[in-house]
């Protein structure tokens, strides 16, 4: 898969973006066949349901854990290996004792349990949105998640911009809008990052959201490394 090799090549660039902005934009991460597969999964998924709470947003969500193709699993694994050194560096910088295992299998065992999911899709129609939220885990969280867009803005839907906010201690929050097009993805911070200040490192807090869709349907993919409680996604 082309995505895998580009992750290898751009590992440092991704780290730089995450260090600076708390997200790394990965244009064209999903190729045409992956997009087709996602659309197919979306159509045939039996688990679509309205979002379980107002705190999550308005629209439909479906869990893909047992349906995600081996290619998406490979992508998840490749990204994990690329990101785990940064996750551990941030923990050191923030003085946190925990270190994530370098092995994906070990990580998977520790951070994934029955009843959770690591992949889901959102289907947002007109007037739907995703509220500002964090998708933290059942048994601890990996500091990164991946979001991707399977519909084309301006063609399949209007509105529905992906927003990330970063709250900094004693300072105003910083808003970011990630310009996702169909097939694009971004690595985003799950809930925090280590930011460098004049006196060492400090912790900032992230939330993400999708602005109201004005018309059409926006199909978004959310890949997580840790498991997220299902169906009560926070």
């Amino acid at each position: 898969m082309s995505a895998e090799s580009s992750i290898e090549v751009n590992g440092e660039a991704i780290h730089d973006r995450l260090d600076a902005e708390g997200y790394a934009y990965l244009p064209g991460l999903l190729d045409a066949s992956e997009m087709t597969e996602l659309a197919r999964l979306a159509v045939r998924s039996a688990s679509w349901r309205p979002m379980p709470s107002e705190g999550m947003g308005k629209g439909d969500v479906t869990c893909l854990t047992n349906e995600v193709s081996s290619r998406l699993q490979t992508l998840r694994q490749a990204l994990f290996h690329g990101l785990v050194p940064l996750a551990n560096r941030w923990n050191v910088e923030l003085g946190l004792a925990d270190a994530y295992p370098g092995s994906f299998d070990e990580f998977d065992e520790a951070f994934n349990r029955e009843g959770g999911t690591t992949a889901y899709m959102h289907r947002l129609g007109a007037d739907d949105y995703l509220a500002l939220q964090q998708c933290t885990g059942n048994s601890g969280s990996f500091p990164f998640q991946v979001v991707a867009l399977a519909s084309q803005p301006g063609v399949d839907f209007d509105g529905g911009e992906f927003v990330l906010t970063e709250r900094r201690p004693r300072m105003q929050s910083r808003p970011a809008v990630i310009p996702l097009q169909a097939g694009d993805a971004a690595v985003i911070c799950t809930s925090y990052r280590a930011a460098k200040g004049s006196r060492g490192f400090f912790r900032t807090e992230f939330k993400h959201a999708v602005s109201t869709v004005h018309k059409g349907t926006r199909l978004g993919l959310h890949l997580s490394f840790h498991d997220i409680p299902w169906p009560t996604i926070r």
Partner: protein, 253 residues
């Protein structure tokens, strides 16, 4: 990056002094009120024509028009800069502030009644400004903002003292895609019960957005009205230059 090939043709009245006249008189205020009630913001498409936008952004280097310049990074507000106009305001801006105020005061009074805020606003801008000035808020707040590549504005509220007019207006003076990329206008609201939203408002050159300074009323489940805190900001400009004019109706200490 700046070309005028795709400039939209818009009627633009020019008065004898050559200052493009604002178009507040053409605004559908009933629609503005409906959108504000439903969404917490309202967009007035094409409030200023391209020429008015160009002449307003051209004022930025003319320091004589301004009372102060703020470099946002120095205060942790973000990156980029803005300048507060001095009185007298440029004619077009003065006219807009004066013409829009009574329409917005009607909405503001209704909102305050709904939120049980015991403040009501006089029908004329002069009378409201007199109230601000009596309380020592004498300095004009309309401002011109300039963002370049890499700049952004953190989520904030424009409060300048005890007297607050609860609605404000921002007009985008540059054209997205032609003059700049990125630089989205973002609003967040922190509702009670843990529900927060983020909204991106797509604006083009000359479009104005009316939005709450700090709170808006949202209907609760049981015919009650909740007071929801709002903040606004601008995401990072990826390239080019983005100018906005902000019209705040209360003056500052």
């Amino acid at each position: 990056m700046k070309t005028h090939a795709f400039r939209r043709a818009r009627p633009c009245a020019v008065n004898p002094a050559g200052i493009p006249a604002p178009a507040a008189g053409r605004v559908d205020w009933a629609n503005v009120a409906t959108e504000l009630d439903a969404d917490g913001h309202a967009v007035m498409r094409g409030l200023l024509g391209p020429d008015a936008c160009e002449s307003m952004q051209a004022m930025y280097p003319e320091d004589g028009r301004f009372r102060s310049r703020v470099v946002m990074a120095r205060h942790g507000f973000g990156r980029g800069e803005y300048k507060y106009f001095s009185y007298p305001l440029p004619a077009a801006l003065q006219e807009l502030r004066q013409e829009m105020y009574p329409h917005l005061a009607t909405i503001a009074n209704r909102w305050n009644a709904q939120m049980k805020v015991p403040v009501s606003f006089p029908a004329r801008l002069e009378d409201f400004l007199e109230r601000c000035h009596q309380a020592g808020q004498r300095r004009p707040t309309p401002l011109l903002l300039q963002y370049g590549a890499g700049d952004y504005n953190c989520l904030h509220q424009d409060l300048y003292g005890e007297h607050v007019f609860p609605l404000q207006v921002a007009i985008l003076l540059s054209e997205p895609g032609r003059d700049f990329a990125g630089g989205e206008f973002v609003m967040t609201e922190n509702a009670t019960a843990g529900v927060s939203r983020a909204t991106v408002i797509g604006l083009r050159q000359g479009d104005a957005i009316v939005f709450p300074v700090n709170h808006r009323p949202v209907a609760g489940r049981r015919a009650d009205v909740r007071r929801v805190a709002m903040r606004h900001g601008v995401s990072r400009i990826r390239e080019g230059r983005r100018y906005t004019v902000g019209i705040i109706f209360h003056d500052a200490m």
